[in-house]
Structures are given as C-alpha cells and as structure tokens.
C-alpha cells in the first residue's frame, strides 16, 4: 500500500482537490503548469499546511484525518524542496548528519556514495553550485530515512547540462533505497526519462493519471503542459542499423521510421517523444521532401484553440498509438481536415530526443 490522498485546500484563486491512490513503488511524476497546486500538494502530504482538510494515509499509518493531523516531524515523508533549503550554519556534512542523527539512519556511507557527496562533505553550503546543493538536499532527505520521497522540481534551477548530469542520480534512487517517489516537474523530458506513472494537475484538479505513455498521448494534457512542450510518446522497436547513412531504423506501429544512429541493439524497445510542434500534416503522401519520417494515420480529434492561430490534432497511427500535431487553424480549413480523414504525419528526424532514451 502506498500513499492514499483525499484532500482539499482553498487557495487564492481556486481550490485544490486531489483524491488519488499512489503506488507503493516507482516514480510518479506530478505534472502541471506553474501555479497548478503541485507544491501545495506536497506541503499537505508533508504536513506543512495546517489548513488542509481531508485524509492522508500512507500504508497503515494515518497522517491526517478530519481535525487530527500528525505533525510533519512524525511523518515518514521526506521532502526535497525546490530551493534545497540547506542549513547555512552547518557544513555539508553537518547538514547530512542533522538528518541522520534524528532518524538514526545507518545509511550515511551508502547515501554519500550514491550521490557522490564525498568531495563536498567539508564544504560550506553557501559556496555550493546549484546542482551540488540539490544533491546535498536529496542526500539529506534520504538520511532522514523516509518511506516516501517527495521531490519538488529538484532540477528546475539548473541549466541543461547540469540537469543531464543529475538525472541519472535521481533515476537510481527508487531501486537503491527501495522507496516510492513523487516527483514534481513541468518538463515532459523529465517525465519520460524518470517516471513510470504520472498525475496531471491543472488549477488544483486532477486532469489525468496513469501510465506515462498513455497519459502523455491524451490531447487534453496540452492545457496542463503549456503549448510549447506538448507532444506524445510512441513505442518504437529497433529493426536495423544503416551504417552508410548513419541511421537507426525503427518500427513504430508497423510503420518504418529512422533516427540518427544510436548504439541500440536490434530488437530494443524505446519510447520516443515527438513534440506536437514538430509534426506537420499532409492529405496526400508527399514526395520530393527532405523529411524522412512520414507516418500514415487517421484523425481522431481536432481541437481548435479559440483566439489563437493554432489547432491540435490527435492522429491514430495504428496499434493503439497516437501522435499529436500542432498546426494552424488556416491549414485545417484549407486542407479540409475532419475527423476520420486519413492523413500523413511528417516528422522531422531531428525531433528525436536522444536524452529520452533509457540508459543501457
């Protein structure tokens, strides 16, 4: 049994209502635009929002029920704050031991090793870089011996290369410490890279929840994710390596695609993220274009965004897989697109994101 929630809290412009059962293992991404109530949800789980009402239970333990609330220091929830919140009067080692002493954790060496903290131990917290601060904050929280780890956008403040360096550390945690993780993010990349399941929050309400690939493919996620990041995840299988042109041939829903060569074994399965803005649409199969990835499919949904130039299409490419395309409303009109029409989705090869590939 994992975390079970049925809570509400009135916020400034909307009210936060979440009723959900989280699994007892793996990483669940809490996804949504800023201000959707994600951090507040974590604060309620950790016991930092006394005004919240409802029920919070973890396994057999009831953390909140009606008027009764277990104080934060007695809950086995470890919260990694977005801004790290290291204690400035203690060294890195002092921060880690602050937690270890109170939880009587015996995993000091293991945590230091997993997060590569040995070289930082003697440092003051004030002159750590953003990535180092987050590693120390994660380590400190692990040393409080939590049985549920809440991570609030631990990578938000970091630039791209630092993010890429920290991601593997986080991906390792559920296995190394055998605890379920809830992970707040508004980056689709982090979701596909880390999480098995996701819960989408919009203006305090649960918009969708479930397996990552199924949830991401749903069109209504656009509202929560912001148009720029909107996209879909499809399952691909490696079928061949083209040495001459340096390409990896893939099979997606029975159709062929290719991407710049990667050293994946033939037969390997991988999720591909395709951003909606990287997909164009044609009524006839185009010829004489440089785009190599052209998938045929059927339009399942057209959502025109009021007061903008854009519309989003959900295209069924077979085998239960979907692509999303973001095109102009003018194109929808001129190409006379409608539900059930067969279309060709044109995907730029470069839109494959190598970082979403699972580590071998």
């Amino acid at each position: 049994m994992g975390l079970s929630l049925d809570i509400s809290l009135a916020l400034e412009s909307f009210s936060l209502n979440v009723a959900h059962e989280f699994p007892a293992r793996g990483i669940t991404a809490i996804f949504g635009a800023s201000g959707a109530g994600k951090s507040t949800l974590f604060r309620i789980i950790a016991g930092l929002e006394p005004r919240a009402t409802g029920r919070v239970a973890f396994g057999e333990e009831i953390w909140q029920s009606g008027q009764k609330s277990v104080p934060p220091f007695k809950r086995a929830a470890g919260l990694v704050f977005q801004d790290a919140r290291l204690f400035a009067h203690l060294s890195v080692e002092g921060n880690l031991k602050f937690a270890a002493r109170r939880s009587r954790s015996t995993r000091f060496e293991a945590v230091v090793k997993t997060l590569d903290l040995q070289p930082l131990l003697a440092r003051k917290t004030n002159d750590l870089s953003g990535g180092e601060r987050q590693r120390v904050a994660i380590g400190r929280t692990l040393l409080s011996a939590p049985r549920l780890l809440l991570m609030d956008e631990p990578l938000a403040a970091l630039d791209h290369s630092r993010k890429a360096r920290l991601l593997p550390y986080i991906a390792r945690l559920p296995e190394a410490f055998d605890l379920p993780i809830l992970y707040i993010t508004h980056s689709v990349e982090e979701v596909t890279r880390l999480a098995d399941r996701m819960l989408v929050l919009s203006k305090g309400q649960v918009l969708a929840a479930g397996k990552v690939s199924a949830t991401l493919a749903r069109l209504d996620i656009a509202e929560a994710s912001g148009k720029f990041e909107a996209g879909s995840v499809v399952q691909a299988r490696v079928i061949a390596q083209d040495e001459r042109f340096h390409l990896t041939e893939l099979c997606v829903a029975g159709q062929k695609m290719s991407m710049p060569a990667s050293n994946l074994a033939i037969g390997a399965e991988l999720p591909l993220r395709i951003r909606a803005r990287d997909v164009a649409v044609a009524r006839q199969k185009p010829s004489g274009v440089s785009i190599r990835n052209i998938l045929s499919g059927v339009i399942k949904e057209i959502i025109e965004e009021p007061d903008t130039a854009f519309a989003e299409l959900l295209i069924d490419i077979g085998a239960g897989q979907h692509l999303r395309a973001r095109i102009t409303r003018a194109s929808v009109f001129e190409l006379d697109l409608a539900l059930g029409h067969e279309v060709f989705a044109l995907i730029k090869s470069v839109s494959f994101d190598r970082r979403v590939l699972p580590k071998k």
Binding site: G47, P71, K74, L79, F87, A88, H89, F98, R102, S103
Partner: protein
C-alpha cells in the same frame, strides 16, 4: 587624584548581567512570537514592547514605582513572600531595568528570527526535528548575531540607565547606587575628580560596546534601537 570608589561600577555590572539574563529568558519567546505570529493583536504587543524607546525614563520610572510599591498587588505579594519591598531594592531595580531595556533585546532578536524565516524551520520539521529541537538547532544558531546584538545592547543600555533607577531605586550604596547615580551625586557635591574617573570608564566602555556591535554588523546589519 584618588582612586575612585568602584563599588557603584561593580553594582552596575551586576545589575546589567542579571537584567540581560532575565531579558534573554523573557525576550526570546516574545521575539519568536512577534516574528512568527499572524495574530491581529501583534501590533499592540509590538508597540508596548517599543514604548521604553520613546517614553521619558521619568514617566516609565513613575509608573514602575507605583506598580512595584508595597501598596500595589505585585509589590504587596513580593513583600509578603520575601519581607522586602521591590522599590528601593536591587530586585526592584532588576525588574525596572528589564522593562526599560526590553526593546533592546526583543528588536534585534525579532529581526533575526524574521530573517531566518519559515524555510529552514519547515526543512527541519521534514527532517524529523520537533519544534523545540528545530528552534535550538536551527533558529538559534542562524540568529547568532541577533542574540549577540541583543545581549550586548541590553547590557550596555542597563549600564547607562539613570532616570528609571533614580525614580525606582534611589541612591542606596550597595543596593541601588549604580555608576550613573554615583556620577550624578559626585557632580552635585562638586567632587569632579571622582566624576571624571567614573565618566571616563563609562565612556570607554560604551564606545567599546558600540564598536563591537557595529563590527559584528558590518556584513549583515541588524537594526539597532
């Protein structure tokens, strides 16, 4: 020039020491409450705490005198319990000084606690530190300079007080005759040599104290007074 009588100086130091200790015990929870509460009565308590900064010592001393007199409730209880009066005694002087120096302890502490903020305290709570534990292991060390400033200023302010002592304590050698009273009396009796000596000691002391405070505050100033 003869060696000055140092008993008043020693009495002042004792008074300031006891007062500062008392203020630490009273002022810390009061400052913490003021820094963290959302209670709507907070401004009233804040204003009362700051009153000694603006009231003339004679007004404050007058009220304290009435409040502590054996005919008042507190003064009567004290007399029944100890057989002494609170007015014109060392104990009464400690109470009066504590009230008079209260803002000098509470204000630096309050701004230090406010600077710590909720962030580190919440972090401590999620790391399994109880409220008192978090206060002593996180809030206090992070407010170190606030404590230092509060202690030094309360001590120095008590050493330098005159009006309130005169009103409440009078001029009893060994009991209430502190350094400022002694200097006043020496000037009245035209004993300038003694007055010079004690004044110089007080001047050097006050300057040193302020120098310490401002040196401490150079990196992150704490409002004083």
């Amino acid at each position: 020039m003869s060696w000055p009588d140092l008993a008043p100086l020693w009495l002042s130091v004792q008074l300031a020491g006891v007062t500062t200790a008392l203020l630490l015990i009273i002022g810390t929870p009061l400052a913490w409450w003021l820094a963290t509460t959302r209670n709507r009565f907070r401004p009233i308590i804040e204003a009362i705490t700051a009153l000694p900064l603006v009231l003339p010592p004679t007004v404050l001393g007058f009220y304290i005198l009435i409040f502590l007199s054996p005919n008042s409730t507190l003064g009567g209880l004290w007399r029944d319990a100890t057989g002494e009066t609170l007015t014109f005694s060392f104990s009464g002087l400690v109470l009066a000084s504590a009230l008079y120096s209260l803002p000098f302890m509470v204000q630096p502490l309050q701004s230090a606690f406010e600077a710590v903020g909720r962030g580190p305290m919440e972090a401590a709570a999620t790391l399994r530190a109880g409220r008192l534990d978090a206060f002593f292991s996180v809030a206090v060390p992070l407010s170190k300079r606030g404590f230092l400033t509060g202690i030094v200023l309360s001590f120095a302010h008590t050493i330098g007080e005159f009006g309130v002592v005169l009103m409440v304590g009078g001029n009893i050698p060994g009991q209430t005759r502190v350094i400022s009273i002694a200097i006043y009396e020496q000037v009245e009796t035209l004993d300038y040599a003694q007055a010079h000596a004690l004044s110089l000691i007080l001047l050097v002391f006050s300057f040193s104290v302020l120098l310490v405070v401002y040196s401490l505050n150079r990196r992150a100033p704490v409002r004083v007074g």
